[in-house]
Amino acid sequence: MMTIRRLGYGATRAALAISALATTGVAQALGDKSVTDLPGGPRVLGLDFQPAVTDVAQQIKMLHYGMLIVCTVIFVVVFGFMFYSIVKHRKSVGHQAANFHESVKVEILWTLVPFIIVILMGAAATRTVVAMKDTTNADLTIKATGYQWKWGYDYVKGEGEGLGFISTLDTAQRELSEDNKAAGNDYLLKVDHPLVVPVDKKIRIITTADDVIHSWSVPAFGVKQDAIPGFVRDTWFLAQKVGDYYGMCSELCGKEHAYMPIHVVVLSAPDYTAWVATQKKALAAAADDPKKVWEMGPLMARGEKVYLANCAVCHKPDGKGAGPVKPLDASPVVNDKDINAQILTVLHGRLNGAMPAWQGKLSETEIAAAITYTKNSWSNHTGQLVEPSDVVAAEAK
C-alpha cells in the first residue's frame, strides 16, 4: 500500500511539475506575454464556457453546472467505495475474501437510482431543447452561407433587408499563421466584414452552404448550427449585451477549416440603424457596372486586390500553388489564347468544388480583374485584357 501511495504521490508531483514547466514554456516559446482574454471570445486558461450573453447560453451553462454537481456526487460516492475497498480489502493487510456474489435488492437499487437520475436529467434539459428550436417570431432574419472558406451573410428580412456581404478571415492573420508568427488577442478571429446585429432583438440565422458542410457557431450565444449544402436549417439568438462575439467554423470543411471564423458585432438599436444606413449607401456606391470598359492599369490594380483576397489562399501570392492546388504561373489554362478557357473555370470551378465556382460570389468586374491579373503576372505575359463584358458573355453560355 505504501508503494502505491508513494507512487501515486510521486506521479501527482511529476504531473504538477510538468504542467508548471509547460506553462512557463508557453510564455518563453511565444515571446509574447501580452495575450489576454478576448471579450466575447476565448479566455486564457479558460476552464468554463465563455460568458453567456443569451438566455439559451445561460441555460446551457446552468445545465452544465448541474451536471457537474451530479457527476461530482456520483464520483465521490462511487470512488469513495472503490478507494475504501482498495485500501481496506487487500490481501496485504490480511483481509479475507467474502463469498457473496449476488444481491437482487442491491442490484435493483442501483438500477433504479441511476434511472431516476436520468429521468430528472431529461426533464431538466427538455425545456432548453424546446427553446433552442423555437425560431418563430424573429425580428431579423439573416442567411449565413458557408463557402470554402468564408461566410456569406444576407439580410433576408427585417431592418437591413437587402444587405449582403462576404466575411473572410483577415488575410494578414492568415499570413501570420503561415509564417508561424501567431500574435494578437483576436488571432484567427478577426474578419474583414463582421456580421452586425441589433441588441435585444431575436435574430434568426438561416444556414446553408455552397460546397461542403460547415457549422456556424458562436459559443457566447449558445448557438451551433451546421450549414449544409442543398439544405436550409435555422437557429436563433437574442443577444442581451452589445459587444463583439466570436466563434469558429465547427465542422471540418477542408484545408482552411481553421481559418473561417464567425465574428458578430452586437450594436444598440440606434447604432444598428446608423450602420444599416451607411451600408446601404456604400452598397450603392460600390456596385460595379459590368458594362464599364476598363484600361489595363486600373484593372490590374483591382485584380491584384481581388486575387489576394480570394485566390491567394490556395494558389499562393506568387501563383505557384501548393500540393494538390494547381499553379497559375505558367498554367496552360491561364495562358490559353481563348480567354473563355479560364473564365469558364473560374465561373464554374473544378474537381467538385476543390476549385470553387466563383459565379455569384464575385462580381463580373472582380472576376474579369482577377483573370486579367493572373494572365499578366509572374511569368505570364499574355497581354490579354478580360473585360467584365467578356465574363457576362461567358455566363450566358
Partner: protein, 547 residues
Amino acid sequence: MSAVLPHPVAPGHDHDHDHDHDHAHGQPHGWRRWLFATNHKDIGTMYLVFAFTMFLIGGTLALLIRLELFQPGLQYFNPELFNQFTTMHGLIMVFGAIMPAFVGFANWMIPMQIGAADMAFARMNNLSFWLLIPAALMLASGFFLPGGAPAAGWTLYAPLTLQMGASMDSSIFALHLMGASSIMGSINIIVTILNMRAPGMTLMKMPMFCWTWLITAYLLIAVMPVLAGAITMTLTDRHFHTSFFNPAGGGDPVMYQHIFWFFGHPEVYIMILPAFGIVSQVVPAFARKRLFGYTSMVYATSSIAILSFIVWAHHMYTTGMPVTGQLFFMYATMLISVPTGVKVFNWLATMWRGSMTFEAPMLWAVGFIFVFTMGGFTGLICSMAPIDIQLQDTYYVVAHFHYVLVAGSLFGMFSGFYYWSPKWTGVMYNELRGKIHFWTSLVFFNLTFFPMHFLGLAGMPRRVADYPMQFTDFNQVASIGGLCFGLSQVYFLLFIVIPVMRGKGEPAPQRPWEGAEGLEWEVPSPAPWHTYETPPKLDRTATKVIG
C-alpha cells in the same frame, strides 16, 4: 484425464517464434506457418502483432498532430497535411488497432476459455487475418498517392469526401476489406461460442470475455455492412455520377451521417464491450472473489448492445433535426448510462470485501474503471442535447472519446495482456516494469486529455491546424503529455513485450494468478499449440477440468 496434449516445449522456452513445436500433424514451418496458419493461437498472435504495429503508426500520427498543435501558428505541416494526419490517425486506430487487437484476444482466448480445440472455421480465420494486410497497405498508401491521404476526418462526411483525391478510393476499398475481415471474424466467433463449448459449459456459465465478444460479434455483423453501404455510395457518388450524398445532384449529405452513425454508434460499443469482458475477468481474479452479479452483467451488456442501435443521431444534434427527434435521441442516450452504471457497480461490488492484490493486470483494470468512468461522466454531460450542441466538434468531444477509447479499450487490452501473456508466452513479464508502464501511462494519459475538456468548454474546435492564442497553454500541456504517453508505449514494447516474446523472464506456472479461474488456466504455460483437442470433462462451475 487431462484432455490436453503434452507440450513438446519446455516451459519458459520461446513459444511464439519457435519452429520446434509439435510435429504430429506435419504443420508448416517458417513463413508457411504464418501464411497458411489455421491455428487459433498463431492467428491470435498475428492479430496482436498487427494491431500493435498499427497502434504505433497511429500513435506516431497522433504525436505529429500534437507537435503541430504545441504552438499557435503553422510550424511543421500545412493544414491539408494536418487534416490527413487526423483522418488517418482515426482510421488506423479504430480499424487497424483496436478492432483487430480484440479479435486477436478473441482468437487466443475464446477456444481455450470454452474448452474448444480451435476456432470453428480455421481457414476463414486465416483469410480474415490476411485480408488486413492488403487493407492496411492500401490505407497507408494514401500518403504516397497524388493529393495525399484522405483529409475528410475518420467519419468521412460527404460531400467533403467528393473533393478528395485517389487515396479516398483506396481507403474505401481498405475499409471494405477490413469490414469483410471483421464480419468473417465475427461469424467465426459466434459459431465457435454457440457450437463448440465443452459439455457442461452452458451459456450462463461462460466466462464474461466470451459473453461480451459474443454480443460484440452480433453488433459487428449488424453494422459493418451498413458502413460498407455508406462508403460504397460515396464511391459511386465520386465516380459514377450518382447523387446519394451529393447535393449538386439532389443528394442529401445528412443522410450519409445517419447511415454512418447507425454503424458508428454500435461501433463505439464494439470497441468497448470486449474490454468490459476482460475487466470482468481480471477483477474477480485479483479480488479472489467471484464476479458480482454475473447474470446482470450479461443482461447489462445485451441492453447496451440493443440500445446502441437507437441513439445514433446524438452525434448529429447540430445538423438540425426536429425537436421530437432531438428529445427522443436525448432520452435514449441517457438510458444507456443505466446498464453501463450497473457494470461499474458490479465491478466495485466484486472488489468489495475481497482480498485484493495489485499486480499489473489488476492495476490496469482498476485504472480502467476509474478513468473509463470519467469518460462516462463526460458522456452523461454530452447526452444532454443543449450542452452537446455547445460542445459538438470541440476538444471536449475529443477528450470524451479518448477517455473511453484509450482509457477504456486500450487500458482494458493492457489489463488482458498482462493477465494472459504468461499463458501465451510461458514467461512472467517483469512486474516492476508492468507497474512503471501503468503509472506512466495513467499519469500522462490524463495530462494529455484532461486539459482538452477545458479547451472544448472554452470553444476550441477540433480538427484545426491552428488556433487562437488563448488556447495555447492547455495545448502545450496536452502535447507534452502526449509525447510522454507515447514513450510509455515504446517502453512497453521494448522492455515488456519483446522480452516476453523472446521468452525472457521467470517461467510462468500453469496458473500464475492465485484467484484466476477458467479453462485457460487448466492447460500448461505456455499453452501447447493444440489445446482441448477432445472435449474436456468439466466440474459444475465449468471452470475446472476434472477426471
